[in-house]
Amino acid sequence: MKIIEVKKISKKFGKLSVLSDVSLTVEKNQIISIIGPSGSGKSTLLRTIVNFEDIDKGEIFIEGKNNKTKDAISKVGMVFQNPNLFPNKTVIDNLISAPILVKKMNKNMAKKLGEYYLKKVNLLNKENYYPSRLSGGEAQRVAIARALVMQPDILLLDEPTSSLDPELVNEVLITIKKLAKEITILIVSHEIKFVKEISDKIYFMDKGKIITSGKPESIFFEQKNQRLKKFLKTFSYKLN
């Protein structure tokens, strides 16, 4: 079953073409990764999927529905480069606000659900903390739990470790790895080794285009594309 279908989309910022004829499909229970150099359009692609950016050409469907519909967007959870937690709410309130306000869940039920997901990201002991007291890794894990509490069918992760100190990256990656068994994920990441381990399929983007795609083994070991080879070379120390 296709969860996300991006059909030949293009997007320009002024005269600059940031996405050009991009197509991509995410099937249920797949882990799809997008890699590529900075400025290649990876994050813009995710932002167009959730309708934060309008597209100039093409179509995007989420579970068969146009991504401009509220119903389609409700199937998607998203975690950004920064956790974007609500600083005026405790960790648990960050989690339960949307279920209460959007899904009209009663507070006790929402709290139980929130605690369930906090336990999943190993942060149940921090439920009454304000975000300012969390480390970067903890805040990002709370952001993941907050996205999951809405029980989306797919989780979009936009470079979830890029704003973290190196020693905090691992705790977030472990959390994502754990989740990868339970939910469909579309992830943009520079953690090449991690992407190689968890992905069912990898898309390589450059200058707003999908240059090549395939299973991890074909991307990392059988690749003939010179641009991808050059890109991967910069990560060779991380892959070994």
Partner: protein
């Protein structure tokens, strides 16, 4: 005899103080919700409604409060034959002015909240009202608390203009005694009341700011 006269003076000025306080409370209670609404309209609606509010903001910010006060009290009576009691005219003029001034403060507050907070709310499914009410407004208020504090203190200072349209506020009450007794004491008492009001308000705001400091944004991780 002197003590009795002093007590009478204090009580008379205190009565004026109650009028000042009443106008201040009504102004704050009415102006703040209107200011929030105006700020939201100016941010969200760039259509003709937004432009009308922009123009009106320019008009109010570009004219002195005393002029607005005279316009509502004398002007309306002359043009439309609407004779408002001085207290009501004062409340209308003050609310009208401060909803615009505070509207600008709230607008700045809303704009200071990172765009990513709006996007997060959107992806979580919150509608615009829920986003503003539960996420943006509380953060904006924390950011603008010191400025709101300044503005509400300024409302008290500005009540001294009310004597010009006959409202019996602190200043007018003390002036009446000064004219009668030809002594500076009523002004000292009035100054004491002004200081007391302002310090109480500042103290309350400091307490609120302290309470909010536990959830001030740590932008490194938010």
């Amino acid at each position: 005899m002197i003590a009795e006269s002093l007590i009478n003076s204090i009580l008379f000025i205190l009565k004026g103080g109650l009028t000042t306080l009443a106008i201040w409370v009504i102004t704050v209670l009415l102006a703040i919700p209107c200011a929030i609404l105006i700020a939201i309209i100016r941010i969200r609606y760039k259509n003709s409604l937004g432009r009308v509010i922009d123009l009106y903001t320019g008009l109010i910010r570009g004219t002195p409060l005393l002029f607005q006060l005279f316009f509502i009290y004398f002007g309306l009576a002359l043009i439309f034959k609407i004779n408002l009691p001085s207290f009501l005219a004062a409340v209308i003029a003050f609310t009208n002015s401060w909803m615009i001034y505070l509207g600008e403060v709230f607008r700045g507050g809303f704009n200071s909240v990172d765009k990513s907070q709006y996007e997060t709310c959107k992806i979580l499914g919150l509608n615009y009202y829920q986003t503003m009410r539960y996420v943006i407004l509380p953060q904006a208020i924390i950011a603008i608390l010191p400025e709101i504090n300044n503005q509400v203190i300024e409302i008290i200072w500005s009540t001294s203009l009310l004597s010009t349209i006959g409202v019996n506020d602190i200043l007018k009450a003390s002036k009446v005694i000064l004219m009668r007794d030809l002594t500076i004491t009523p002004f000292i008492i009035a100054a004491f009341f002004y200081l007391l009001f302002n310090n109480i308000i500042t103290l309350i705001f400091k307490k609120v700011e302290k309470k909010c400091s536990s959830y001030k944004p740590n932008y490194k991780y938010l």
